[in-house]
Amino acid sequence: MKYEPKNPYQYIGSYNPRTYQENKSSRVSHIVKQVETMDELFNRIQLRDGMTISFHHHLRNGDAVMNLIMDEILKRNLRDITVAASSVFPVHTSLATAIEAGVVTQVVSAYMSGFVADVVSEGKCLYPCVMQTHGGRALSIESGKLKIDVAFIASPAMDASGNISGRQGKAACGSLGYAIADAYYANVVVAITDTIEPLNHIDIAKECVDVMIVVDSIGDPKGIVSGTTRITKDPVGLAIAKRTIELMDAAGYIKNGMSFQTGAGGISLAVAAQLHQKLKKESIQGSFASGGITGYLVDMFEEGLFERLYDVQCFDLAAVASIQKNENHYSISASQYGNPYNPENIVDQLDVVILGASEIDLDFNVNVTTGFDHRILGGSGGHADTAYGSKFAIIVSKLVSSRISVVVDRVTTITTPGETVDALVTDYGIAIHPRHSELIHQLKKTTRLPVVSMKELLDTANELCGLPQIIEPKEKIVAIMEYRDLSVIDVIRQFDPL
């Protein structure tokens, strides 16, 4: 096992792993070698057993590059490869095959779903995988804890000299924020593109790139917008969004200069849409919105309701179109976004973040990584980063859907520690973390918001659904939950199918 976090989680700041190395962008008189075939590429990069390779996930479920490379690796009889991919999606079937064949023995990632998540949950990967956060991944690479031998960077467009842009090409995806650390610090950087043309904007300079190769297609742009990017029409979801806005307002966060981030879940997007109306109606101008950028945030930005967008990843084509044309729509790297030891990281400047949860417990710990049966279904992404950095982290969810309660006694897996979560807004009431006793008092006194305790929500859920049977996993640890400061916050054990 090559990548193994060991320090136990205490609270961020207790452990500083930072030992920065010099990055590659300062190399001088560097020439990018262009190769024609996969054979030539593999001869050149000298990939060997036991090495660590990396991928970014900006093409999301439309990505063709990881499968292309994994298929080559499967052909070449390599063993004991570690894959450090910023996220893994259902499209990545070849990685699942490589894990089952024992070719890949560890995965390090901030999010995984689909076949790879299944084979890892079932204990088929030799070493425990490491589930990171987006900011933590950048830190682990920059600090040299996670050493990447070869980074394979899907590059939507390149110029003839080897510079990379995410904003042009057939599979334009906008920001390349999650690939920056890989480009700076991997021993060998391979850029894979399907479009060679002059660039208007450079995301990754040629100084970082060692080898480039042109292929037929790096991915299907339709897959980029996979995932939930529609506002909920469900009246209950809309009611939750409305209460969330009232809570933000009562807590004093809706004002000039506010900064805001929201996930791409249906209720989170409804919060963005209702914030849009409110800012417009009351002529309030925010400073910035950040994160995965959606068309909803672009609309607010283009109407002047936010001065700037900080974009680590474009969630839809409207965001891609905006980053191509709007000056104050900035690409940022994962390190600038959420690395806790990057002094200018954006999450630390956030006022409010709206997040989802698959479970939240009596201590406000949140799980977005596994189901109650211990099967891996996702991962932190920026969840833990933004909850920590923001002044007010709000979780939005229906209390019960299809008999499953979001509020539980104890989360199956800790993705985000409760001490960094401030509020939960549900259809059956709002729970505020007890450390905000003054706010709780104020809300009860001056608003009609239904403030309740987390225990009351749990009791309501149990009254509706009944007490769930506890599902024990098997003994084997299949993944380690690495918090954003690279400490160990939890482990995931092998899923036990009934």
Binding site: P235, V236, A239, T446, T460, L464
Partner: protein, 283 residues
């Protein structure tokens, strides 16, 4: 009973019935009638029965609109739903001719199961209903009225208008009879769910002539209705001051802030405080 908004929810949708307690309406009307296809009537009736028996109701009222007298489902609805204790029954196609027969069917089942008398709301949706509402208003079992503008217009053979001018007589007639006998009176639904502004204007008019609240067909409408039919913070403050002042005076009539305060004014202040208490508006 004071209801600013009563929201119709189709009685056969498990998901909608489940989420109804947390929607923004003072009363939820679980519907067995118009929202339910013929083939699903039995299913809706039984889902409502079990829902009422087990769903935590919190502070919300749960009403049920049953199928009308003369339909195949009237008796079945009554025997399914009355024992599961709805807060009120909404009786469709009500008029003076049928009212006694309906009441006696209900009382038979109430006696059979030894139930407390349920509150009855008459849904007035015919020309005859409007003209014979006096009989209903005088009946001790009637607790209120709801006007159904769509069916009323089709009974009259007229087309609905944006400004509801065709409903003027029905509205004044119904609300005056209701008030004469201390019953609640709810206004007809507004069918254009995308036009919340039009909905608000409609609510404002009906509130101005005495309606207590409005039947709603979307949760967003209920939210607006709650605002319009509510008491304002200024009214609450005024009422509190009047009542405080009343305690200081032994005589029935006195002057406060340059205005004469007598019994009708004091009663109005009491009503405002009562409503504010009920809707959780007192801080």
């Amino acid at each position: 009973m004071s209801i600013r908004s009563a929201l119709f929810v189709p009685g056969n949708s498990a998901a909608m019935v489940l989420s109804s307690p947390i929607l923004d309406a003072d009363a939820i009307i679980l519907d067995c009638e118009d929202a339910i296809a013929m083939a699903s009537k039995d299913s809706a009736s039984l889902l409502i029965k079990h829902t009422l028996m087990h769903l935590p109701r919190r502070q919300k009222q749960f009403w049920v609109r049953i199928n009308p007298l003369g339909s195949d489902f009237f008796m079945e609805d009554l025997s399914n739903i009355l024992p599961s204790l709805p807060d009120a029954l909404l009786i469709p196609k009500a008029d003076g001719d049928d009212w006694d027969e309906i009441i006696s069917a209900i009382e038979n089942i109430e006696n059979q199961f030894q139930l407390q008398p349920v509150a009855l709301i008459a849904l007035i949706e015919s020309a005859k209903g409007v003209l014979t509402c006096e009989k209903l208003a005088r009946h001790p079992r009637t607790k209120g009225f709801l006007l159904g503008g769509e069916d009323f217009a089709s009974d009259m053979g007229i087309v609905r208008r944006e400004d509801n001018r065709e409903l003027l007589f029905a509205r004044y007639q119904l609300v005056t009879w209701a008030k004469a006998f201390k019953q609640i009176c709810l206004d007809t639904p507004y069918t254009d769910i995308d036009n919340l502004e039009g909905f608000m204007l409609d609510c404002e008019f009906s509130a101005s002539i005495g309606f207590d609240g409005k039947a709603c067909i979307h949760p967003l409408q209920a939210e607006v209705a709650n605002e319009v039919y509510s008491v304002s913070d200024t009214q609450i403050l005024w009422a509190k001051e009047v009542l405080d002042e009343t305690e200081k005076h032994s005589v029935g009539v006195f002057s406060f802030k340059g205005k004469m305060i007598d019994r009708p004014v004091i009663n109005r202040a009491k009503q405002i405080i009562e409503k504010a208490k009920k809707w959780g508006l007192l801080r």
